[in-house]
Homo-oligomer: 226 residues x 8
């Protein structure tokens, strides 16, 4: 059951869907454009959908140059190779940002969740410095099954949302900020120390990871019904 394909520089997991309930994904950074393209090619031959994250334009160009039918979004830096059957995941994930500059990370989260079949509702630039912007969205947020809170600077968005909703909140610190933001450590620490409950945290700028966690949460209901 635990089978993989060995292409030298990579051992490709061909049945991750069976094991973890989700298609294979590929971490873009540190791979040459050729390596990334070869990986996608291997999955295409197997008919396995695959999502590549944090891809550079050079990687995307190589993929396109080889005629691999994947789409690249320069904001989220996601490459979606969507040739298999698109899954459907019941439930809605709300993706919020503190500011405009957090949008690329939020789009990584939103795009990932959509790739895995979830419905996504976006609420951008609702940071705590202008609380009325967030409060105007509370009813909508309370309807979501899971919330992803993306924020840099002081990273307070997750705490405030977790105190307002019943759903689990995944907080994503971003590297938006400067000086004592320490490239995202400040919001990361803030989120880990939240005085609100129901919050868990992923790595700085890791919109992808937040979305995978949220999708696994949505799948709890499906598995129980199955």
């Amino acid at each position: 059951m635990d089978d993989f394909r060995d292409i030298g520089f990579a051992k490709l997991d061909m049945n991750r869907t069976d094991r973890t309930g989700q298609s294979e994904t590929v971490f873009g950074p540190g791979k040459t454009p050729e390596q990334l393209a070869a990986i996608l090619e291997t999955f295409r031959r197997a008919g396995t959908r695959v999502l590549a994250t944090k891809c550079s334009p050079e990687q995307a160009a190589e993929v396109a140059a080889r005629g691999i039918p994947a789409t690249y979004d320069p904001v989220s830096r996601l490459t979606r190779a969507d040739w298999g059957e698109k899954p459907i995941l019941k439930g809605t994930i709300a993706v919020c940002t503190g500011g405009t500059a957090d949008i690329p990370v939020a789009e990584e989260a939103a795009g990932t969740a959509e790739f895995f079949g979830a419905a996504v509702e976006r609420h951008y630039d609702v940071g705590v410095a202008g609380l009325h912007r967030l409060l105007s969205k509370v009813e909508s947020l309370r309807r979501a099954d899971a919330v992803i809170a993306v924020a840099g600077m002081e990273g307070a968005l997750g705490s405030v949302i977790a105190g307002l909703v019943k759903a689990p909140v995944v907080a994503v610190p971003t590297s938006v900020g400067y000086g004592a933001s320490l490239a995202g450590l400040a919001p990361l620490l803030a989120m880990l120390n939240s005085c609100a409950e129901g919050l868990s945290v992923v790595n700085i700028d890791n919109g992808f990871g937040a979305a995978v966690s949220a999708c696994r949460m949505l799948r709890i209901a499906e598995r129980r019904q199955a």
Copy 2:
């Protein structure tokens, strides 16, 4: 709807259940035994169940001395004031530890989850240095709806589990270790950088927070069915 009781040194949230789906909880540290007892007393009068975390023996003694019918567990340091109707939450949460020294944090997680009505399955001392111990539990882990992975030292337990199961994994770093463990920062960083997907992280030694997040995940299914 957003009502609270003001007792001077604290503003008690009397309808958190309506807003966040869960009973009130109290963070023990930094409160005098008298303050903690007064808070529990106020909730008792309102008939609201309440859980206090990281309580000292002195706090527990004061609560007992006032005749407040709460139970104190010295391993998890939880004080459970269980006078209201006990909730039932469908689904099972697996709580795992890397080693024996991680058990107090794991018990905080397990006790919290049980307080909020979830079923808990414990797998202790299954760290990655002796992989066969963990592998012998895989079938059981795959049946859980959510997994809480508690580990100090290098904190690899969460990554390995997240690669083996479909459920969301909440990783709890612990302060178990010494030297370059930096009081738990080493496993915290490791967990945030997991090469596995589906993992989110809470503060060092925060078994409570992991359990609340996991319970919110279980509630997704309930709310959808309601």
Copy 3:
């Protein structure tokens, strides 16, 4: 004009009021009880009011044993030697805390401000995890001339308040928390990175410093009218 009294282990500033507009203050830690008492004695002879901060019970006991008419408050750990003429400072300072455990630091701020003649309004346990508690105080906060926001954990209180009022906000991070709170570094960093404007920050647990800054702000108006 810049005169001081040399008592060997300390050079006492006898005309700080002229230079900085405020009575002399003494930092308690690192001084023996005898040294602290000798310092207070010197100021008493000169008829100069003096405030000592972060005093231990041992220091307070020595001061009392020598018959020096100063009061000691064990919560704020302030020793107030109030023999001179009490100043009056026009204006109100609001002192808020995120939780109950932040109260000792808040009382250091409040007691200091009162010592220097300001009116103080206390709003304790109004942290952002239960936003309605804070929102119920907004009108009162908007009337204050300066706000001191005292919070540990993720330290979001200052940001939220600064977005709601016109007054300057001085944020005080506290060492309340554990694990990744890093003894108060997490809220300190959060406050420094606030997405809200009008916030400035003092050292961890430095309620005293926040109060002195706020009092200097109130004095701007007085000086202009003089």
Copy 4:
């Protein structure tokens, strides 16, 4: 009263002046030139003055290309969109720097304060290594209503000034320095640990934040007289 305009990637606060006493401001970094220009355009249509900070030349060029009548200063990197009625704020803010290399941050502070209507007095290159330079300015500093002390390296300027004047001092650490300056952490920590009173601190290189805080201080007097 708490109204905002939603332009997708941003929720613009249209009545911040009513709520916080100050015009809207925009944080430049992380916004595309198009986004920044669109935001300014929206405010122009509403007739609301707006200040954008830390703008890149590319952002400024896009604003100019669209014919938006805003001025850009490459030293302070401020974009001032000054179409509304210019406010007048009574009082003077002194802006000091330790060295020549701190001037861009100081100009961000000075330009911001002037945008909000304050009078500014500049004292540049008065660092503590040549104390006579600072001492020659003491009389002038003592007349200011608030002082902004901008310094990198060891960041001692704020402490020395706060011991010489009655006004509140806002200290701005800068990233000027190298090695153990840790990109400004060294002066930040020094300022937070000042042995002088009356000092509060903002983020590294955050001249803007210091100026907004200082302007709020000046407004205390105005509001009381109103």
Copy 5:
């Protein structure tokens, strides 16, 4: 016996082989292309084999331009000047990586070990998120005399391997990752805190150092037999 050649900017160790059992090596960074070429030239004249690490393409080009018969590998960034008699070291070193992006560091290790005469077996992309990939290699790993485990992100590979084999394991953290990876500090700390025994650690990205340590281990057997 302890002789060296002084060429001004460098003192070249001409008999390191006698003293430490291994040819001279040169650390490339911080040397001008001219300096590096002059060093290689000096060793060539003495007939001493030498390995230069972390060389830039510019350094390699200068070496080639001078006709020095050394080979440069752009992946490992090793320059091998192999003119002397090639040593033979009995035993096999297994070099493993967590992911594809760790390969350059692994190749630095593998190339170094081969330069010093060891046999190398490569197992790339066998990280713990897909444990079956690693488990499929266990028999091969158990035959190796020493194992080098190269991993970024959470750095768990070394712990898992050290629990599976009898050989000493040298762990090499890499700077592969982002955000809270802190440029490799996260896996470094994880490896230092390994719950498994038999693991020792070298600097981030220091494949070279791991290989030299492993070769010294292999030489223990040779020296005893000699």
Copy 6:
């Protein structure tokens, strides 16, 4: 083959010797005296030798009180339960310290190596500030098969030794020092950045880990001969 005994709070590895070539060991901290004694008892029944590290006097007292025939050394804090057949490991490990205060960590290393059958040669207080002390030991060091260099403060001992011998050197930073030693981080970082080759590093104060690594190195020769 991978069998373990489950005693609730611990899963005891009963055949680690087969898998990793070495007896089971137990990490003392975080275990109650009762837990530690129960673990030793279980191994005694199985006739398996076991070594417990960093044991407190309270743990040792409980073990003694139960009549378990293990010896406790208060300097190294090792508990040796030596009931099985004592292994013999060919080769000598030299254990050196920079100063007298490093001896407890060195004794943990030496005692561990002896428990696993190696011969140990001790060279204590040979730090680099008085180089002649170390140089007087060079011949002896050059005869060792592996060297363990234990040092706090600036941690230079390992670098100097690694430049003098052919054997692999395992460096152990200690928490001896104060201030900027950062509880051992300073020598840890120094050792990781050694300009000498052939050095690998273990956690601060981890004499045990260094010894296990060194013993695995000695076993390379044995296995090849077997």
Copy 7:
């Protein structure tokens, strides 16, 4: 010439005076009272003066109990074993502190310098928050041959002094402070980043090291005249 006495746990440097120009010194922490006493005893037999630093009262009591004629000062924690001929070192060292709480570190410096024969002038509590206190001492400071500036908190004292005198300044950061002082890291970093010239720095609380450096400076003149 490089001779030492080996007493097992220590290798005592018996001719350090010849090599480094100064008597032997012993670092107290980490040595048992018995070890410290044995070391002093050995030097006494050799007639060698010796200074032990950072000694605990327990160590001092053991030394006294054995009848070793050494004096112990509980403020500086120095044990001076002054049996040899007292050296005389021409020149004066000024020792200054920022505050009263820095005095123990300053006394360690002053006592060490006096032990090695230098004249010491003390200026305590002359921190930069009340500049007139320091300025009143400038003439005296300008006469000193070397200055030791001891300060915690923001550590600005050294910078200000180095800008006022021609002598070399050795700055000693202290752990006086709290919160973001990070146990002395804040003044350490400040001192390393001084904008003044002529300043060098020793470890936090290392008054001893500063004094030894200053004494070596005074000896330059003596050696040249010899």
Copy 8:
């Protein structure tokens, strides 16, 4: 006596020689080429020698373009404006480096010391990994009046030298290294924690500061003779 020239962006210290015994120096970074040239021009008009440090080629080009007769050395990045009378300082300063890559920092030190009149002896690439290189220089080092030890990586050079000579040693950590060198923090911490006496430390890569301190040390003898 304390006079300066105000040129707007800088307040130039025109009589630093009288006050601190040394010509004015200028910190290059953060100044525009125009600002640097204007500063040099001002000093030229006053006939004051001046040294500018860490200058970029752009700054040097502007200085040359204006015909200012200063020399620029691209290795040390010093600009020497040597128009006044060259001072002579009796005594020799030895400047040593651990490796070749440390030479630029060492040349900054050597060039600065020569500018101020000292004789300099250079010993480059004498790091502790090949101790015989350093030991071959001991006699020469023992003749120097002060030693500057420049080293990156583990920074052990200063400790070893300070144990071999009687002169004061100023240690300069460099940013040479990678990974856990943390851009020079590792050698900085090592040097601060030296087990040798007589060592003081300056900022990372601060060859200039080390030289100024060493020159002040040499001047002690001159002043006493004057």
